[in-house]
Homo-oligomer: 323 residues x 2
């Protein structure tokens, strides 16, 4: 890639189902300015891209930055997608199929752009400027309704030859276990997602366990409510999170055995239950690692919060278009 | 590394519990000459290394090759070991602890040497000159009493920051499953090793299933016997191998989801049961992959047989000391 040393600014985009975050980011990974716009996924994809382009222009204008001062745009989107082709292939939560994001954006704002999976962009953000700095093999889990992930190694994001690596939520750890939303059985996601927390909570209630959750209406049994109960001292609720942590630790142990991963970073809403997860993560990992001592493996919370996506996307643009 | 373009020859060593194989290998990966010596693991480690050095000198002499014509030695050994330090840390089947193989060998034969795990050396051999040629992410399984492995990516062997990556046999796929010799539960090795075949055969007999294996003495129930029964049409024996294949396929699916691995190579004695494994491998993998189509994933038998270790070790020496 040609690189103009005088250009030190980047644009990062984090496209979400509800909101899209945009950032003007320095080559040191500092957010200089940012904005958030509604994605409006109900509108045609072209419409969404046009509003993102307009917002990026606004962001440049209010910072008195010329497009010529920008090295490139990093764009994080739900996948699956192709970085090589710059195309979002199929994202159920946006309803997009084969959307040529790079081509369209280039028509609207004349800057080079690199497209990446949003969880991967967040992983690179944490690796570049967050909790994973300096690690050789870093794994990010995004814990939410599902379980996403990203892997950084060799000082780079690992996307794999099929461009869809790091589907960590669908690592099978218990093939006779509960069915995952993906259809398969015993995936990590079936044990460590917010949905798994709800399933376990309902299971405990069904079994007649003594828990404050019994009093809730069915629709009110959410991972958040289970967390609140755990905070309030509910032992059953605490045990549910312990099981989530143990499954995450076991899956992490697999990644230690496979890759010698040594830094595990936990982001996403469910990582807020850290106080009920951490010990169990260590316990689950210790049970499954073979040759690497547990003392060499770190388990930490993500540091960049909501900004991991735009910082990581900008970092990936720097990697692609920088010197 | 400095490299002398005129040197095109390598030495490969494959240290085993019973025999040690040595090869004079060209930089094109061709074995020009080879020999096999008894390892004599009952003797002190220094003794073993001295006999290996003497054999290497003999190999050079009978080929009229000077040490000065050799780029370097690649040495494959059972692990765990440290490539960085050139030390075998702890190998139960040799009874070695902290043996400084590189230092000792260098005292006896003045050539640079690189030490690698034997399964990793075999993996690199298959990647460089065998069944895995041209793949972007290749996984080798060595199927025997246990399940070993190696991973090649980015055109190199992946050893990981802890130097003990690719312990594929200890990937947990069934955490409520049978106990593995390592102590943990539901490892791939507990489902896909020769020991697992025997356990499953005994289980079928115990359950009163109709199988020719019933007539054997307990000590005669071996993986080889189960294979022979399968060959002779025994449906129960065939189903046992089907289960092994399915577990290997499932574990492979995990590696597709994690790394986008796209080439799986199966070596070791148990891969001889390929005709009863292949369909089940594909089935198990198809069940667990998320975003990569099964058509893009290859499952093949290893091609280099017993020579994978010396060819791979030589290839790793070429990588380390070559131009």
């Amino acid at each position: 890639m040609s690189a103009d040393k005088s250009k030190t600014l980047l644009l990062g985009v984090d496209l979400g189902g509800t909101d899209t975050k945009l950032g003007l980011v320095s080559d040191a990974g500092k957010i200089l300015d940012q904005m958030k716009i509604p994605t409006r996924a109900d509108k045609p994809a072209r419409d969404v891209i046009e509003r993102i382009a307009a917002a990026l222009k606004k962001l440049l204008k209010r910072n008195r930055v010329q497009p010529a001062d920008i090295l490139g745009i990093g764009f994080g989107s739900p996948g699956p997608l192709s970085t090589k082709r710059g195309v979002v292939i199929d994202t159920p939560n946006l309803g997009w199929k084969n959307v040529p994001v790079r081509t369209w954006l280039r028509e609207l704002i004349d800057l080079p752009m690199v497209l990446h999976n949003d969880a991967n962009a967040a992983a690179y953000g944490e690796f570049w400027k967050g909790a994973g700095r300096g690690s050789e093999v870093m794994v990010l889990y995004t814990l939410g309704t599902g379980v996403g992930g990203g892997i950084c190694l060799n000082n780079d994001l690992w996307v794999g030859p099929g461009e869809n690596a790091a589907e960590l939520g669908h690592m099978v750890i218990n093939f006779n276990g509960p069915q995952c939303p993906c259809g398969n059985y015993g995936c990590l996601e079936a044990h460590a997602s917010a949905k798994a927390v709800v399933r376990n909570a309902l299971g405990e209630i069904a079994m007649g366990r003594e828990t404050s959750l019994r009093k809730l209406k069915l629709e009110d049994v959410t991972a958040k409510r289970v967390f609140e109960a755990a905070k309030a001292g509910d032992k059953v609720a605490q045990r549910i999170f312990h099981r989530v942590g143990w499954a995450l630790g076991l899956a992490s142990g697999n990644l230690v055995n496979i890759l010698n991963a040594e830094m595990f970073v936990f982001g996403g809403a469910m990582s807020g239950a850290w106080e009920f997860l951490y010990d169990a993560i260590v316990e689950g990992c210790r049970a499954s690692i073979l040759a690497m001592p547990i003392s060499k493996i770190k388990f930490v919370r993500a540091q960049l919060g909501e900004n991991a996506g735009i910082i990581g996307a900008a970092g990936l643009a720097l990697k692609e278009f920088g010197a």
